[in-house]
Symmetry: C2
Subunit: 389 residues, 2 copies
């Protein structure tokens, strides 16, 4: 007898990525403009590279503590204590392989059979599949381009039921770039805490804020961290995504549980990369200001180009480097994005990658030089004029 | 209302590590000799560090493909094709965050509720908890120091039942250093394939072979890879554990499933570390020969010191850098190891960390300078003489 592996049925919850299909087609084409990239396009700042090289030359290539490099955990506690006004200790953190492992640990440690997780759509590709893989059902709260993908906190609160174990937040978010106001996050956190529901907050874009507004972390909205897990990383802020340094933040007791879980998933993180991350957090933050200024310039242009383009409903995202305009209701964004790629060479990500409710939208990344984005719109604007719906 | 997080009950399968308890006590003491370290004590070879630094200076700090850096996947396919005589393609691999994520993906993708996983004790700390976390039961096959922790393949074959989904092998193994002969691995693989049972083989120590014997990979024992998943890494072979570069090997179809799962756990690996790993696989292998020669010298001494020590039953491990002598039957190795640490300052790892059946054993690592190991035995040999059982 010979057969394929009889996989754990839980894996059936993990879909093939819609991003992959676009990239596969793009790989067969010439002259493609990618507005599809989910990572910063800037080089990693020099002082961070230098700290990384120094760690290698000092032979820091062996295991560190499984919770994370002590110097990084200290740097994180100082960084967040200064940002939030809340005194955080190294024991409030566990280092992870990027924001991905952070969210993997957070979601699959809380979601479980018989439980329900509230997710706001459009949602980052990992959230819903991970909740389902852990056996939970997903309660989707729909937001739309028409109101800038803002969430009505009352809708989230009304969705909390006896099975609700977690609410996942992501502000500013991928794929929308939408920043929730403090009032919305505060309202959700207060009710979640009252009801014993865990708020899992993906805050990897928390430093990429494009307007003169204070971003709000769930760390600012809770008197204690018993029902809060925050995930973040250095990837987006300091343009070092390939080093895979992320972390979780919660109460000391919760972090003990998450550290034990992490021991069994990846055990320890990359050592010299953690030295580089500590240097990023402790060094000059001028590099971040410069990258944010450039994202802002691009955002301002892309918002006006989308406003001028036929058939696209835009809005003004206040964070990250994404915008997700919608096409007329009922449009199959997936077929549309493939057709647009074939006929104009401009690659975007179809909305159904981020949820059922946003099938008629396209994620456009502006982590690309402004001139390239301009060329893309010079192609797609006249092409859009010829489309009928 | 305020409460702790109601964790996913699956996490209850993950125990607190016995290693941690020893390290916590050792941290409060002066003059501790660690025979407890699970990583090579050599610096990472210079040409590997240089390749890593070059990657950083070339700004290779952004995401690569989620399956792994294409150049690393190519290097792996050439490396294994040359070693095994089996033609492997880049599509037979997925890169992971060290051997840990590799085994996490392999075990939790196959183990599931209603299934059984066969594990040979003493077993590496991750294996049994991960199988149980995924919902499977564990069928333990016991081996002992008296016969060098060799497994009787017939005992494994007889344990296969209708619920058996996987057999986990680890040769040479942590914590025993035991190398299984080809005949044993071949017998298990043939029967597993016939019965449609997946063989998951942790081969991270496959290059640390201390005698003139050919190690046997399960890759050599199967006509195809439909029922085989091999995990390995560069950590032990090239003394670069803190870079966290590992991989899985299987059929192309299985690797597609494992790549998708990996997409949801850590998404991508560390980019410059993957360049360093490719340099390790493709560069001169003289560094490995030198490290193995030193491990062999230490092994030869430690085997004779254990033979000379009262109350310890030793054997001659042929691989890795561990030996796991047993104490008289019925001894609580955990209490014994703590007492020995307190009274002699020598830190070892108690056997119950690796399974119920080896409570009366101690794992001794010789990833430490020979002079240090000699000092440790100068302390523990006279101390052992004074112990009664």
């Amino acid at each position: 007898m010979q057969r394929m592996i009889d996989w754990n049925p839980a894996l059936a919850a993990l879909p093939l990525s819609g991003i992959r299909r676009m990239f596969n087609l793009a790989a067969t084409m010439k002259d493609v403009i990618h507005l599809s990239i989910g990572q910063p396009d800037f080089p990693t700042p020099k002082h961070i590279i230098e700290a990384h090289v120094a760690a290698l030359n000092e032979d820091k290539t062996h295991y560190t503590m499984d919770a994370g490099l002590p110097e990084l955990l200290s740097a994180l506690s100082e960084y967040y204590s200064a940002r939030t006004g809340r005194r955080l200790k190294p024991e409030n953190f566990v280092e992870t392989t990027g924001g991905s492992e952070a969210m993997f640990l957070a979601i699959t440690s809380v979601a479980a059979p018989g439980k329900e997780v509230i997710v706001i759509e459009p949602s980052f590709v990992l959230f819903q599949p991970l909740a389902r893989m852990a056996g939970a059902s997903v309660r989707r709260i729909v937001t739309t381009a028409q109101n800038g993908y803002q969430v009505d906190p009352q809708e989230v609160i009304d969705a909390i039921g006896p099975k609700t174990c977690a609410i996942i937040l992501n502000s500013p978010g991928n794929p929308t770039g939408t920043l929730y106001p403090r009032s919305a996050i505060q309202a959700i956190c207060v009710e979640a805490q009252r009801r014993g529901v865990t708020v899992i907050s993906d805050e990897v874009y928390d430093r990429l804020i494009l307007d003169e507004v204070e971003p709000c972390s769930v760390l600012d909205c809770n008197p204690d961290l018993d029902n809060v897990i925050v995930a973040s990383c250095v990837s987006k802020t300091y343009s070092m995504p390939g080093l895979r340094i992320g972390w979780l933040i919660s109460s000391e007791a919760n972090i003990q549980t998450l550290r034990r879980y992490h021991m069994f998933t990846t055990t320890v993180g990359n050592t010299p990369g953690q030295w580089a991350a500590a240097a990023a957090l402790q060094g000059s933050q001028q590099c971040v200001a410069e990258m944010v200024a450039e994202y802002r310039r691009r955002r301002d242009h892309i918002v006006s180009w989308i406003d001028a383009a036929p058939h696209l409903s835009g809005y003004c995202p206040q964070g990250a480097f994404y915008i997700m305009p919608s096409l007329p209701a009922g449009t199959d964004g997936s077929a549309f994005a493939l057709k647009m790629l074939e006929e104009t060479g401009v690659c975007t990500i179809p909305g159904d990658t981020f949820g059922e409710s946003c099938r008629n939208a396209l994620r456009i990344s502006y982590a690309t030089a402004l001139e390239t984005i301009e060329q893309a719109f010079e192609r797609i604007t006249p092409w859009l004029e010829q489309q009928s719906f």
